[in-house]
Amino acid sequence: MIFITHHNLLAWLGKLKEDRTLIAPQDIGKGHIRYRPVSDIEEITFDYTQPEMSAKEFLFPQTDRLMRIEKRGDEVTLHDYLLEKEQIIFGLRPCDAHGFLAFDALFLEQDPPDVYYARRREMTTLVGISCPQMWENCFCTSVGGAPDDPSHLDVLLTAVGDGYAVKAATSKGKALLASAETQEVTDLTLPEIPKNETVPILPAEDWPALFNDQYWARLGERCLSCKLCTYVCPTCRCFDLRDEEVLSGTGIVIHDRMRVWDACTAPNYRTIAGGHNSRATKGQRIRNRYYCKFHYYPKDFGPLGCVGCGRCIEACPVNIDIKEMLAQVADLHEKVEA
């Protein structure tokens, strides 16, 4: 097994940072932990459960500038914003990396692939750290993940003793590790991580039977219709696209084409010309969010739209709890089938 001391890990990160953007969990104030570009290695925090926002911020930014349209006099020039510098996301929890599976299924594997996402994906290396435990809202083991699952990462570190056990999960990860000072050890026992009780996941084909159940209207009743659950979610990927004027003056107008996160939970998401809204009620919107994760997405693209990180439970101001919903939906389906 390969081992790296904490000291050597920091030295390695420092080296990587020289010609790449290093992104890692940091305290951004009042104890809020987010993934942020690192200017000094000292800024990285190792004392966190999971960052409040998922790592999708760096492959699918909330504000993603795609193109600049510049008009000077009669001349129009176009400029593509494509990520130019390689980036490393460090300190990911395995569930965050798992989230990119849902992104890949849509943005890479559909034809045509999304060039902006594809470029970021190609230029990004994912270096994760195993979770020391499953926290209260975690249910990754119910949706195909695990607190120490290396499957979707390039490198996985697992804390042990005064350092980390290192696993290169891809050739990209292996190449990155070439500059790290590691040692080969034989007597290392990795800690056993106690698992949370699993949550029943209703199979994708069983969801349509519950579509018209009044359960959704009742569940949606306390929803505030904010966007929080979708913003913190590692798989939610809806966006709005617009050309916005960023500068105008004599003989010059500049527009940026940008795509920005959108949320199916917000009231205006489905509003179309003429003011018609096909998901005008909260129950319809919350049903859509969960059907997308457990029925539409697996049916249309393969992976589930949920990695069991529990962020939406933690974030929801009115305790809409996806685990509670999954248990209730499984019960409800049993009753409907009976």
């Binding site: 951004i28 904010c226 101001p317």
Partner: protein
Amino acid sequence: MIEQIQAKAKELLENEQVSCVIGYETATDGGTRPAFIYDPDDVDRLVWNQQCHYNLVNYLHDKKKPPKRGADIPSVAVIVKPCDSRTINLLVGESQIKRENIHVIGLTCTGMLENGEIQTRCQHCTIRSPLVYDTLIGEPPTEEISDDFEDVAEIEAMAPEERLNFWLSEFDRCIRCYACRQACPGCYCTVCEFDRDDSLWIGMQNEMPEKYFFHTFRAMHLAGRCVECNACELACPMDIPLSLLNRKLTKEMEELFDHRGGMTTEPTPFVTLMKDGEISLI
């Protein structure tokens, strides 16, 4: 108090005086969450404790319209704390709800907890008994509390540049999730300026000018309307001290216009009022 609350809810539902009672129930994290009770047999779900911080009056916006075309506007009962009762005044004064459609179950209050401590805003709260109610439950506390705006004094003491930097560093964490706006019972515009599709006033990107504009714009629209329920701040996932911003404007409004949101049904002097008869012209 909880026995009285449950008994009243049961009575209102059994007599069909209301179709729904909006109250509090236990959340999956051990705290509380809003509950909508339709069946008299479900009233034992209702709870009352110092974690019942939600302003449930916000949900009356969902009950303003008949459930089906041609049906009546539903009558509902809502459990309110003293601060929440100011929201009833606010929304009646702004013609958003009809008082006769609402049965207000008012509860006396000694303050709500946040992380195990009495919330700052509760420490300054001068009303411990609801201003509006149909049923009153609980004994109002007798101790006198005066609001000296001590919490606001701290930001007022800052030099303008320091104060700006303070707010910018707080707004920096904003993700524009709009939880504050959605939790606010005073934010009920059908189309919010920030949801318009034409980017006329504000762009869609989540950068500092937009965050700054969003929070100050919202605070200005709540001047003299904020009922100090703290719902915005408690909904905020990033701990932005939104109540402090609103409290500053509450202080200004009180000093300049002798007006405080929701103390009566008198609307804020900041809104345009139509005189008698003018309303029929539109």
